[in-house]
Amino acid sequence: MASAPTQVAAGQARWHGRFLVILLLAPAVLWLGALIVLPHVDLAILSFRERVGPRQYVASLAEYKTFFTEPLYWHVFVRTAVMSVVATFLTLLLAFPMAWIIAKIAHGRARSTLFILCLIPFWVSETVRTLGWMILLRESGVLPSLLVKLGVTSVPVELLYHDATIMVGLIYASLLFMVIPLISSLESLDNALIEAAYDLGANGPAVLRTIVIPHAAPGITAGCIVVFMLTLGSYLTPTLLGGKNSQWFTEQIYTQFITRFNWEQGAAFGFLLLALSTALVMIGLKLTGQRFGEAMRRA
């Protein structure tokens, strides 16, 4: 039986192979299981119960009902969604020319320099970046005193704690996540297609509408999904730049968990935010006729 040892060896090799796969997958599985699935299951259970007395809980939909009956929560929720959609759209408008220049106009050194310039702000943590904006914009900060010096305003004005300030901070924080998928989708656009469109009589806007945007659509979708999710779920930027006026939904969740110690309410809000972002992404995909898988491959 000369084949017996080879069979054993083959079996061993197969087992080794399988072991290797398990070993390689382990960190991802542990990560997903312990840090994402388990807490969410726990939060889901929390959100569907109500405290009726000290350490006494009953299953109920009361936490979700509060959200719909209390106008403040509802208002903050809609405001967060609208602001995030606007921020995503403005980020797209700003990122598109940047990505176009990097992907189609710049060459060689200029191109990598421009890309690095986009990347550099992200070497600093989000907190530090946001605090940087505060130094620039607060009443005693750089920009208001510059405006006084230039004679634009007679006294320093408070530039923090406006919706526009929040918007600037959010766009700044998410620009890179829009630029990268746009660059990769614009790079793959054959220049001959643009020339052919010109040759057939198209002008600039027509080329953009009929050739460039349809080609870049998966990249645009991917960038928009990522930026929208980041914006909707961001906490630091709206809190620091918007102050008390920010009224961001993540702050409501924070308040419920930390200030009010009402974990049940906080958990319910968390799930509502998850449902909101999922629903808006789905509506966005449906409206633009894009597919999630295709977009994520491009990202």
């Binding site: 057939l200 198209a202 002008n203 027509a206 009929t210």
Partner: protein
């Protein structure tokens, strides 16, 4: 010049000090098929892109349909282009591709559909309007690219080596189809290629381009039978090149003798004197082969050589000889009768050619030492 659809007048284009198109002037008659033939890097793509309007000439002027094209953008020129890789729009159906230019001109949707469908039918793709571009074969895509341009009824259709990406069989087929399409539509075609067979088969006129200039401009027959420069003689068709000096001279023919002492006779092309360095060209097709002197045509001087190898290629079969005196390679086309298909390497054979069908040019600067 009222019938010329394209007139180039002293057009110059330089790139970083290197002259891509060097003071070129020519005109293309209405309804003709004009080819620009040249090796890669000769400036033909630059010239085509200047006609299309993607780059502007440094000096000189291009007029299309009698109108100067200076400062007119590509989307406003009465010119359409079939791109090398065709550049069909993958995000659109075949019908939308063909209707694209009409839509840009503001033609109403129903009229657009009708005209693009009619055009697709004329190129034999009446059923393909709803298909995606990637569902078509190479030849079908080619026809869509042409239909997409011709539906706009341009004064001039530019074609940038559109057959380059096709395989041999399809290329041969598309050559005939292009010629038929051009005849059917009567549109003026300007075609660039590095493939001399494409240029010869398709064109009414060919400009042979080298280093930014036209070496010769004329009907394909002229280029083949009466090349005016050594470049044209070696680029158009196959040719044996023989380098040497003039040893005898009369008013229309010369005797050329190589450094090793082999003499041939050829027609004189250009001014030359005894002792001048020259290049002679003898086509494989005009050369006759024989095992004995009696097999060769009467009255032609004969030469001898040794068979090096037999290149069988059906109708294009040839034999490579080593000429006895110079030990240089000499190519001879084999007759269609299959008469010499039994030649063996190292066999001694004789060959001859009509001196009136061989040409001799003054040697090009720097080319005298090379062998052909």
């Amino acid at each position: 010049m009222s019938t010329a659809d394209l007139v180039a007048d002293a057009v110059v284009k330089r790139f970083a000090g290197h002259v891509a198109v060097d003071s070129l002037s020519f005109s293309v008659a209405h309804g003709s098929f004009f080819s620009i033939l040249g090796p890669s890097g000769c400036g033909k793509t630059t010239l085509l892109r200047m006609i299309a309007g993607f780059i502007a000439p440094d000096s000189g002027d291009i007029a299309i349909g009698g109108r100067s094209m200076r400062d007119i953008a590509p989307n406003r020129r009465p010119v359409n282009m079939v791109f090398q890789q065709l550049a069909l729009f993958p995000m659109m159906t075949v019908g939308e591709n063909v209707a694209f230019g009409l839509a840009r001109r503001g033609v109403a949707r129903a009229e657009r559909m009708r005209r693009s469908q009619a055009m697709l039918e004329r190129v034999g793709l009446g059923q393909a309007a709803a298909k995606r571009v990637d569902q078509l074969s190479g030849g079908q895509r080619q026809r869509v690219a042409i239909a997409r341009s011709l539906v706009l009824e341009p004064t001039l259709l530019l074609l940038d080596e559109p057959l380059g990406a096709l395989d041999l069989k399809l290329r041969e087929h598309m050559k005939i189809e292009l010629k038929q399409l051009q005849a059917a539509f009567g549109t003026t075609f300007v075609y660039i290629t590095h493939d001399q067979s494409e240029a010869l088969v398709l064109s009414d006129h060919v400009g042979v381009m080298n280093q930014g200039r036209f070496e010769q401009l004329g009907p394909p027959q002229d280029l083949y039978y009466r090349p005016q420069t050594p470049f044209v003689a070696s680029f158009v068709g196959a040719n044996n090149r023989i380098v040497g000096r003039i040893t005898r001279l009369d008013h229309e023919s010369v005797e050329l003798t190589t450094a090793q002492g082999w003499s041939i006779r050829a027609l004189k092309q250009g001014a030359m004197s005894i002792g001048a360095a020259v290049e002679g060209f003898v086509r494989p097709e005009v050369t006759s082969l024989g095992r004995t002197e009696a097999e060769l045509p009467r009255g032609q001087p004969w030469h001898s050589g040794e068979v090096q190898s037999l290149l069988f290629d059906g109708a294009n079969s040839a034999v490579l000889l080593t000429e006895r005196v110079t030990r240089r390679e000499f190519r001879i086309a084999l007759p269609q009768t299959g008469q010499f298909s039994d030649l063996k390497p190292h066999e001694q054979v004789l060959f001859s050619f009509d001196p009136a069908r061989a040409v001799c040019f003054p040697a090009r600067a720097g080319a005298a030492g090379q062998d052909g």
